[in-house]
Symmetry: C2
Subunit: 476 residues, 2 copies
Amino acid sequence: MTQEKRLVLDWTKVHDVFPIEKHLANETSNLISAKKSLVSGKGKSPEFTGWVDYVKEEAQSVLHSIKKQVETICNHSDAVVVVGIGGSLLGTKAVYEALTHSFAIVNQESLHRRPVLFWAGHHIALDELSELLDALDSYSPSLIVVSKSGGTTEPALAFRILKKYLDDRFGTEEASHRIFAITDPNDGTLLKIAKENNYPHFPIPKNIGGRYSIFTPVGLLPLAISGVNVTEFVAGAEQAFYDSTSEKNHSLETNPALCYAGIRNILYANKYKIESLCTWSPKAKGIAEWWKQLFGESDGKENSGLFPASANFTTDLHSLGQYFQDGERHLFATHLKVADEYSLAKGSLKRKIKIPNCSLNDGFDFLTGQELSHVQNEAQQGTFLAHSDGKVPTLIWELPEMNAWWLGYWMYINMFACGVGGYARGINPFDQPGVEDYKNNMFALMGKPGHADKAAQIRSRLSSGNRLRSLGHTSK
Amino acid sequence: MTQEKRLVLDWTKVHDVFPIEKHLANETSNLISAKKSLVSGKGKSPEFTGWVDYVKEEAQSVLHSIKKQVETICNHSDAVVVVGIGGSLLGTKAVYEALTHSFAIVNQESLHRRPVLFWAGHHIALDELSELLDALDSYSPSLIVVSKSGGTTEPALAFRILKKYLDDRFGTEEASHRIFAITDPNDGTLLKIAKENNYPHFPIPKNIGGRYSIFTPVGLLPLAISGVNVTEFVAGAEQAFYDSTSEKNHSLETNPALCYAGIRNILYANKYKIESLCTWSPKAKGIAEWWKQLFGESDGKENSGLFPASANFTTDLHSLGQYFQDGERHLFATHLKVADEYSLAKGSLKRKIKIPNCSLNDGFDFLTGQELSHVQNEAQQGTFLAHSDGKVPTLIWELPEMNAWWLGYWMYINMFACGVGGYARGINPFDQPGVEDYKNNMFALMGKPGHADKAAQIRSRLSSGNRLRSLGHTSK
């Protein structure tokens, strides 16, 4: 490519549906002041803004400190189970799925020379965990347990179950060499366990919350093991840090994080209540899951906030497409488009695909010889136009290539936009008080010591009153 | 189990948040009349209501007619690529993921004695399709191409590419024995191709649209190949047909399809604009994708309709949980809970899991010896309570077991509720005019013969006017 490579946030098709320009002009000073609060640590919950400049130096020293462990793990393991939930898992899964081979587990020798990653501790469903244990029999696995405190139920129980699996299979001594922890550097249950059992452990800084932790050991250790170029990943984020935080860069035209934060807030204030992140490859679905936590957990406060949804196109044009076109007009779409789809070649992709000649008389001869990426591009242009004609404000991120550097760049930009947008809207983008509510109920119902009063109260609520039900088929 | 098994739709926790009871009483006669229109073929688009009684007899004869092909395919193939998009794929994928082993492709001999299914033609992304071609080298694959007309771009192009792969690998003659078609029985491009090339082919009835087609050969052929008990699957749907359509069963208390349709419409009319289907195992994610197409494509009409979203718990309690608890109050949750999680044992599940003893001092000793399903159940109760306390109307489907019979039963109930609810709301739940808009733009941009005028018009629109952009990092 001799073309310039550049991250672009194109809001032409927001403007076509809604007079965003004048609103943005009015909002600029508010956004700049939110940015200043974030960078200077003077906004809400400054004790959780450590991620802002972490990518500048600390992430570099993490890259250095994990090197030896990565080698050790790759030497004795062909699979690593990452045990975690929420921010302990979603960023890692997003990058792993986007940048490594989708079918590595089919035939790992030829498709994937590094350990494959599996996921656990992100649910308590019997069926999938049981099936994972079956699958592990075919591997020589290690565990990375990721939890800031160690007190979260899902990963704690999965760790117990997987540790027993390793103990039974390898004996306690060898098993203990296959367990690694990523946790608070100073206190908490998991740190204590790691110290007592001599598990190597890596820090999640106190001042970084889960959904902002992808550039810490949380993401870097497992991604390095899987063969993702984490040095490039951090370098992209570092560049995004400079571009987003620079005191010289207050213009929305050259600071996409500010511009994105502004457009989201303005559309929300004007009755667009749902934002759908639309990705364009099955491999990018995990990116949308990471994005939904980042924005949903940050924005959903005080009975307000954009509802974060996702769609994977063109797949979902044949599912949600009708709704986008003709449903209630309360949503806007943010697309993540990759300019050069073949860029993944530097990773796992082996071939371009041209539409082959065929003797089928299928009505598509006009595409014979065209590259598949060309068709994808025309589908994208056609979709952007159709949706904006249908009055859906359509915002487009154009990523030059899908690789570690640009993905790191884009993910940081989103984190920064999330922080700035939250401050600009007057909510706290760094806490998550509502997540505790189901946990407290669950602890009480499970009989956790110290929750007896709450348990009695809940049980009485659950048993009182009529149950209102509609009853279908019965069998004995 | 000596307990009674019964499908339950529990709306106690809708009532706790919103006075649904009196609205339901007012709505009942409208629902009954919508039901009568649907059953008698007197509502909108009656030419697409063939699915209503298809499960009674026609599906039985399909079960008979596919038997021989299923045997043939299982004899020469250990993988089948289902080529399709939207309704040609989503139901099959949902049932396959829910009822067969999640990690079959790791080690198919021990985990899965039947061919594994892969998916293609549901996108035009270079990266995933290229990686699928890599993966197929490890298998002896067949193709099932599913398309009513054969004129849909995504599956047509994937078919070209995969056919060339088979031709190159096996020679044209053997390749042609590995290709099967599911298409319109009377006309269309794919039927013509199948006849000319002697591909065995199976009918998608003219009077059944894609999103209502899971009980036709579209679902039954690939599912039978993968080892799902399709006889039970159809039997469950047939029972649901009788329970839903019976003239004697007009009571919302014993007709969950009517009750569900009513609750959805009432909540939508009262500013609950988003419905999230909440499933409780990673294996159930595909069910939510099927459900989103069914309701999104049916409801999203005339700038109205509930936005269909999904969440997978407990995973997403650590992602969307904060939004559910404290975000804007415009959503309600419909949960799909499985009463007996171990029921999958009859399928692929090998073990129950109890929380093992451990010496870790992790603070969870109070759960030692408990079954994992017990913890899941307490998490569910805790979540239902927390969300309804947070003013989210919470509707709960309780499926007795996750198996082919009950899944068939529940899927039919949802289809019937979708039809009744659409009629009751006055929209047409059986068309999808908006899906054409992006296709027409795409055809024009791709240079399809006959679209030249539209192409010129679109290109002039794309090149005119200022592009409004925010520009990030540049590199050469």
